[in-house]
Amino acid sequence: MKKLLLTVTAVAIGMTGVGLYASPETDQAAFVNYFTKKFPDTPKEDFVNGVYSIDAASREQWIEIEEFPPYELAIDAGEEEWNTAFANGKGYVDCFGEPGVRGNYPYWDESRKEVITLELAINECREANGEKPLKYKRGKIADISAYMAYASRGEPINVEIPNDEALAAYERGKEFYYRKRGQLNFSCFDCHGGGAGNLVRADKLSPAYGHTSHFPVYRSKWGGMGTLHRRFGGCNGQVRAKSFKAQGPEYRELEYFLTYMSNGLDYNGPGARK
């Protein structure tokens, strides 16, 4: 009897172990499966279109908006900025080579041991060339990011987790994603996973799969462009939580996890949203 008990305990511990250390690949397969099952009529590649991939009525309006996209001015401004030399005569091209590199971000930097996002790289390029860094949520940084995203449309999302330290950053991002927070006590997944497709008053909640593909976005509610981290901060505020700093480690690791979940889809930014 004692032996049997030991065996049962050992098996139980073994099983718990499997649960605790699910690999990112397993996580992603389950994540994709969750959304494709929940929205069987949505073709997989269409999830990059957010709520419009699951809501026929607002999709029509959105398609009309896309005929004269509100983010076009930002792309033009970003292109001009890209082509304007820094005071030292150099430019973004000397850092990035070409604008169509959205697909390389976010990535784990092995020497710095942190997640590097496109917006962070844009500011580090500026600072390396003696320019002042830009504010991270809106304005010029969203323009440059929009221009680069536009030049990268169709690039596959392919976030890599090269080692255990990167895995730890991914796990922290995942933990952030599923943790309930704020006075209203919502996790990201509460609304954009379990609640995706449901209505909050008249607004349909968008599915998380494909969420980071189309940033930066022109958001009608903002009346302008904003970066992904501006949106993260807005979401945290809406659940009455204190938002974190744009491009701080929390949001960069959240971006790392969330973008990994959309691996296999294509980048399609910049986007237009309600």
Partner: protein
């Protein structure tokens, strides 16, 4: 006791429709009740209960559908204390509940929750 509760609950479900009609008839006598009026105000206030964000309520416009429709409340919650507990801290019954813990997180005062309970029981 447990068994008795279950029977009452089942009975409650069976009686939901006739009871609903009953409460509708009874509604006018509640209408001038200050507590009910206060409860409705708090329930509809976007900065307070904001119940319509997720629940359909008879005379509310543009309700969400995250949670169940708030109908036949007296039949579904024969014990007001159970309804109050669900509003105060839904996590007790279901730790994954998406419903905000209005009492636990001080979103509403106890007085406001009591008023909402009074109002909901008229639905």
């Amino acid at each position: 006791m447990r068994k008795k509760m279950t029977v009452i609950k089942r009975l409650g479900k069976l009686l939901a429709v006739p009871l609903l009609m009953g409460t509708m008839i009874a509604a006018p006598s509640y209408a001038d009740n200050a507590m009910v009026e206060k409860g409705k105000k708090v329930a509809f206030d976007r900065k307070k209960g904001n119940c319509l964000a997720c629940h359909m309520i008879a005379d509310g416009t543009l309700p969400g559908n995250q949670g169940p429709a708030l109908i036949a409340m007296k039949a579904r919650f024969p014990d007001p204390a159970v309804l109050k507990a669900q509003i105060s801290n839904p996590l007790e019954k279901n730790p994954n509940s998406i419903m905000p813990p209005f009492g636990l997180h001080n979103i509403l005062s106890e007085e406001e929750i009591d008023a909402i309970v009074e109002y909901l029981l008229t639905l």
